[in-house]
Amino acid sequence: MIIEGTHSIAAAPAHVFDRLMEPAVLQQAIPGCDKLEKTGEDEYVAHLKLGIGSIKGSYSGKVSLSDRQPPHKFTLHMEGKGGPGFVKGTSAIELTADGRATKLHYSANVQVGGLIAAVGSRMIEAAAKKLAGEFFHKFGAIVADAGKQAR
């Protein structure tokens, strides 16, 4: 399934791009993320606790980046598995300047399996959008804070 969305972040693309590459920032912004460790160049290991509808569980997974073209775009690959099943996805992320802010567009191709599919498939899209919304809201706040401090 394809999940798409656009968010506006109050900082310049170059700044947003750099922050998106920082594990500590990401860990703070990703909903339910209690671990995000860099394991190699553009490779991370993550641990998440998430609830999608009635399916609550913890997931561990790998995140990697490719096609890095700062500050315009990159591709995010993720693979998570846990008690409720598995999630696999690839997302193209594009940043464009929008005045003093950045317009971030993501388009993800997501596969789910196991209980998440059996019980949650109807809710996946809505849940994923909600999680993405939470992420960018928090990320935007962190980036804006950092911007203020820098000034």
Partner: protein, 789 residues
Amino acid sequence: MKSAKSNGYIGQAIKRVEDPRLMQGRATFVDDLRLPGMLHAAVLRSPHAHATILGLKTEAAKALPGVTDVFTGAEINQACGLVPCSASMPDLKAPKHTVLAGDRVYFVGHPVAIVVAASPSIARDALDLIEVDYDPLPAVANPEKALEKESPLTHPDHGTNVAFTWLLANGDVDGLFAQADRVIKQRIVHQRLTPMAIEPRGCVASFHAGEGSLTLWTSTQIPHLVRTLLPGMIGVAENKLRIVTPEVGGGFGSKLNLYVEEAMCSHLAMRLGAPVKWIEGRRENAMATIHGRDQIGEYELAVKNDGTVLAIKARTIADLGSYLQLLTPTIPTLTGLMISGCYKLKAVRFELTGVYTNKMATDAYRGAGRPEATYALERLMDLAAAELGLDPVKMRLKNFPKPGEFPFHTVTGLAYDSGNYQRALKKAQDLASWDALLEQRDAARQAGRLFGIGLSTYVEICGLGPSKIMAAGGWEWGCVRIEISGKVTAITGTTPHGQGQETSFAQIVGDRLGVPMDDIVVLRGDTASAHFGRDTYGSRATVLGGTALLMSVDKIIAKAKILAGALLGASAKKIDFRGGKFWVKGKPKNALDWKRLAQEAYVAKNLPANFEPGLEASSFFEPKNCTYPFGTHIVAAEVERETGDVTIVKYVAVDDCGPQVNPLLVEGQLQGGIAHSLGQVLFERTVYDGDGQLLTGEFTDYSMPRARDIPEYVIGSTVTPSPSNPLGIKGVGEAGTIGANPAIANAVMDALAPLGIRHVDLPLLPEKLWRAIEEKTAELRKKKPRSQS
């Protein structure tokens, strides 16, 4: 309660003696059992439809406080036998289905590991700590795609997804099709269904180390068959195995099986030296308890212009899922056997291909293969009547065998025992006020409403069955004991789980013995008391189990007459017996009752020579034929043009199951069966996506009929006794489901017929109907542009 006299109970609508305990919450289900030291199991299931297991790490799960142990296929498969299947087609390719996956999983829900812990919640938490490294493989979920050359293979070592082929052919099919005025063709998809018993599966196993014996309490329809089959899986001898079925919250065929969890809990109870309980969750039930139906058929019916049906052809694919449960390949063959329905067809060719896909196994689900036959045939009859411009009622009447033609030998090789299809149809028409219903339809149509009438005339195969056609014997056993006190204990080898035979069997035994029902206890579902049995499925229990009890009663009466004669100074031949009393002909004043005879028989001081103490007898009943109940359902339905919603306006069911032991129970079975059909026709479908992911894993996604969806039923009956058993009864457990599917669907299709809609596959969801209505309405608009423009 009625006083005990001959023929006093049979035929009475007596309330179920089972109900008070069930309604008051005093009944015992498997999950109510708590044994000292009992451990709890939870099963880790594959989230992939097809994958290689590269690695399995259980250390973290084992380290969780409260976890007793964790077992994988490597640790348990050697010790447990394969899941048994009773089918034996010559070309059947069967995968070796082990209790846990080996190095490969092949359906979502495939058990991969089992955790045993001090509590159910610890066991479930531990599942999350097991790490499985899966390497996904291509999967196939569509049975037609599975037959294509480039399809992924469910079992690569088979080299094909074809599990077996089966052909039923009789008569000059090609010749009759050449003679036909018309050939009616229709492709029909019988969608996959999830049985969804209100109580999921569950079991508790307890090993008695001193005796080397094992007791398994399990929510099953078939404790006796489990006792026959389980030794092959766990290595405990049959005579050291006791299977107990406490109360069961619904089976509908889904518990007519031996499942891996029953074997694993039994094995682990021995291995760990503690009782092990496993209770299936609803989500597990949806993915790992058998599914039903899932056949696709291309049907052709050869007919004459006058409505005479000549021959039928079917090419069908049965989606078996990924492996074989007990009866998986057998179920679609029942479709073939019943494909000629109530009609005098001269030839049949039914070609069946069983196909493996990366899905849960299919098996018996209410009706088990027969609803597919009735649904396909009755849809074809309506399509034929429409194409020929004939009245669907007259067309059916034209092709019925006459009442004098029974036993009626079908073109599929069966001998229908007795029948009067015309009478049931007439009665249903009367109950439906047929002519008024037609007028109602005319009026509704004139007002622009989508209103339709549908009927189905059906026959089913029940009372299964003669042992020569049953894999593990088709007889039934029953034992009756007059206790020392004169109270009566009847023990049946069938396993009632909602059918109410604690009541109906007490009626049968009470009448024949002349004993009040209150003095009779019916025991069932425990192999320690019911030594033999073939259990409950295929609408067999009252037909066969009732007869076995009756035979035992007659043996006791014969023995009691000898004793009464000795005590009264007469020969047994001179003893009259009625209403529970024995007397010498002409001297009813000096009668002996059961209490007195029981005392004499067990105290045994005044027994005649060579008379064995006791009043107890058991019997095996071996039927010579199956039974063939039949009937007619008539449905009026209206479809909302703007939404596609279906409303059942009228529901009439006339079923002929022979003489009814308890009409209340018969009506209950019909109501339940029709509710199942309303589900299949209007709501239910089990959906897997193209990758084999199950998408209907809970009630939010698997829609079942609710109370408000159930119409008021008008239920009637005709009585045509079966010559196959002394009570003449035929069975009624599946009649509702078999008769209802086509009647409801035909009514909806009749409602849509004025728009030119010919057929919509089940379930008839509002969206599907709305789209069909919209499409046809748009076509009609194009053809007839508005005159003003």
